[in-house]
């Protein structure tokens, strides 16, 4: 599934954009100018990684201290224990597109339960 995110010009470096799909995905524009997309929800608890602390190729969850590697989705330290999914990012005619992974997401228990119950 290819999803148009926004115009590249509308996502400055150091910023993130959350796509409100289910589950939500976020596109990060690093200070070095690279673009990455990962699942937006921290695997520990319901928090939006787009609100987190972006530094280099890592984003720290806005609530607690776990950091996710934007390139691999790997998590570095507790309280989160599972990685987030990564997604392909494409740029065409100045537009950012995300190809959403077909892998099963690692969602925190409360969010997984909500999604299992159908779209809110």
């Amino acid at each position: 599934m290819m999803i148009p995110a926004c115009r590249l010009a509308d996502l400055p470096r150091g910023e993130a954009l959350r796509l409100d799909i289910d589950p939500p995905v976020s596109v990060f524009h690093t200070d070095d100018g690279e673009l990455f997309a990962i699942d937006d929800t921290c695997t520990h608890q319901d928090a939006s990684l787009a609100d987190g602390w972006l530094e280099g190729c890592e984003v720290e969850c806005p609530l607690h201290a776990s950091k996710f590697d934007l390139r691999t989705g790997a998590v570095d330290a507790p309280p989160a224990k599972l990685p987030v999914r990564t997604h392909d990012v494409l740029i065409e005619d100045g537009m950012i597109y995300v190809r959403v992974s077909t892998d099963a997401p690692n969602l925190p228990p409360c969010v997984a339960a909500r999604l299992a119950g159908g779209p809110a």
Binding site: D51, P62, A65
Partner: protein
């Protein structure tokens, strides 16, 4: 270095063990813990775990399949340190000799004098504490929380959601004034009142009523508050008694440099028992935060492995969070350093606030209530400014 012993098997001890392996230490690694449990996460003990939302398996800090190639000595309490023989003495008479030592023995909940052996009286620090309190709360009734700090407030919030009748007693005129300052302490602790929890401030506790089981909390002004369950949340003291006479200098915990080094070569300290030198403040501080226990061991381990030859980086301003009555509370920095505090976003009455603390116009701390995005921005700014 052939053997490193980590004394303390909670978050700080585990983070130290992980850092040792990550930084290339390949020798013998012994982790000594006085509790019988593998490392577990404490923040949920006053929240989801206490409410019954998650179980013990969810508290595990180690990941599936993680192998630190460590010897785990659990249920083993350290009772002394012999500096000449470089040995940690254990309560069972055994000892562990090690040429490198990480002290991570944490802090223990302060008890209320005279509460020994009285059923229904709890502190909340360990998994065993939380199990006992959870079982009592499940029976319902009237809960009195002594101490309006973060642990007390989280227990009150959880118990209120479970349907208990809750009273919080706080000796200071404003709860949380220490960590948050007077004004913001008042705003955050007003969450109790919003949810029908009674908050009694500026009054001390004289004692507890009841024969074998607690039935009341007796206040210094003569009032008696009926209680079926009492939680004592009046802070913690560092677990460093075992280091008396060892040569490790103790001063409100283990006195350390900005890199975690103690007064003894080959010995570093991390977590709640450690009072690190804060280069920004120019003095030592003991900070009992989860994030410090998670982040600082990397620096202490680097110091240990390099024999003290590393330049310590400047750590980020201390950060902690709390969840109370469904509100996410976040704080970074030091409120005590501030001479002013202003609400930059949101409204105190809505319990939705981003407040910035400043000293001579420079930000020194930031508080967020349900403001994770803005809070992160300010927290970054705070780190950059200092």
């Amino acid at each position: 270095m052939r053997t490193v012993a980590v004394v303390g098997a909670s978050l700080a001890g585990l983070s130290a063990a992980r850092s040792l392996r990550k930084q290339g230490y390949d020798g013998r690694l012994v982790v000594i813990g006085d509790e019988p449990h593998r490392p577990y996460d404490r923040p949920p003990l006053s929240k989801e775990f206490l409410a019954g939302g998650i179980g013990e398996a969810d508290l595990a800090l180690e990941t599936d399949g993680e192998d630190l190639r460590a010897e785990w000595l659990l249920g083993a309490r350290a009772t002394g340190l012999d500096r000449t023989r470089r040995a940690v003495r254990l309560a069972d008479g055994g000892e562990i000799r090690a040429d490198g030592l990480v002290i991570a023995t944490g802090a223990a909940a302060r008890q209320l004098p005279g509460s020994d052996g009285l059923a229904g009286v709890h502190v909340l620090r360990t998994l065993d504490d939380a199990r006992a309190l959870r079982d009592d709360l499940a029976r319902g009734g009237r809960l009195v929380v002594i101490g309006g700090g973060f642990v007390g407030a989280e227990v009150a919030s959880t118990a209120c959601a479970l349907g208990l009748e809750v009273t919080v007693v706080e000796a200071a005129p404003t709860p949380l004034a220490g960590p948050l300052g007077q004004a913001m302490g008042g705003i955050v602790s007003a969450l109790h009142l919003d949810h029908g929890v009674r908050l009694l401030c500026g009054v001390g506790v004289k004692g507890l009523g009841g024969e074998r089981k607690v039935d009341a909390v007796l206040l210094e002004d003569g009032r008696s508050i009926p209680a079926d369950i009492v939680v004592v949340g009046v802070g913690a003291r560092p677990c460093v008694d075992w280091l008396e006479g060892s040569g490790v200098i103790l001063e409100n915990g283990v006195k350390c440099g900005a890199d975690g080094r103690t007064s003894l070569a080959g010995v570093v300290a991390v977590g709640d028992c450690a009072s690190w030198y804060d280069p920004r403040a120019g003095h030592h501080r003991r900070v009992e935060h989860w994030t410090g226990a998670q982040e600082r061991p990397a620096a202490a381990v680097a110091t240990l492995l390099a024999g003290g030859a590393v330049e310590p980086g400047v750590p980020r301003p201390p950060y902690f969070w709390s969840d109370q009555y469904g509100v996410k509370i976040q704080f970074a920095g030091h409120a005590a350093d501030a001479d002013s505090v202003t609400v930059e976003e949101g409204a105190p009455d809505d319990r939705n606030v981003l407040a910035v603390y400043r000293r001579a116009g420079r930000p020194v701390a930031v508080l967020g209530m349900n403001q994770p995005r803005l809070f992160t921005r300010w927290r970054k700014q705070l780190a950059a400014a200092s």
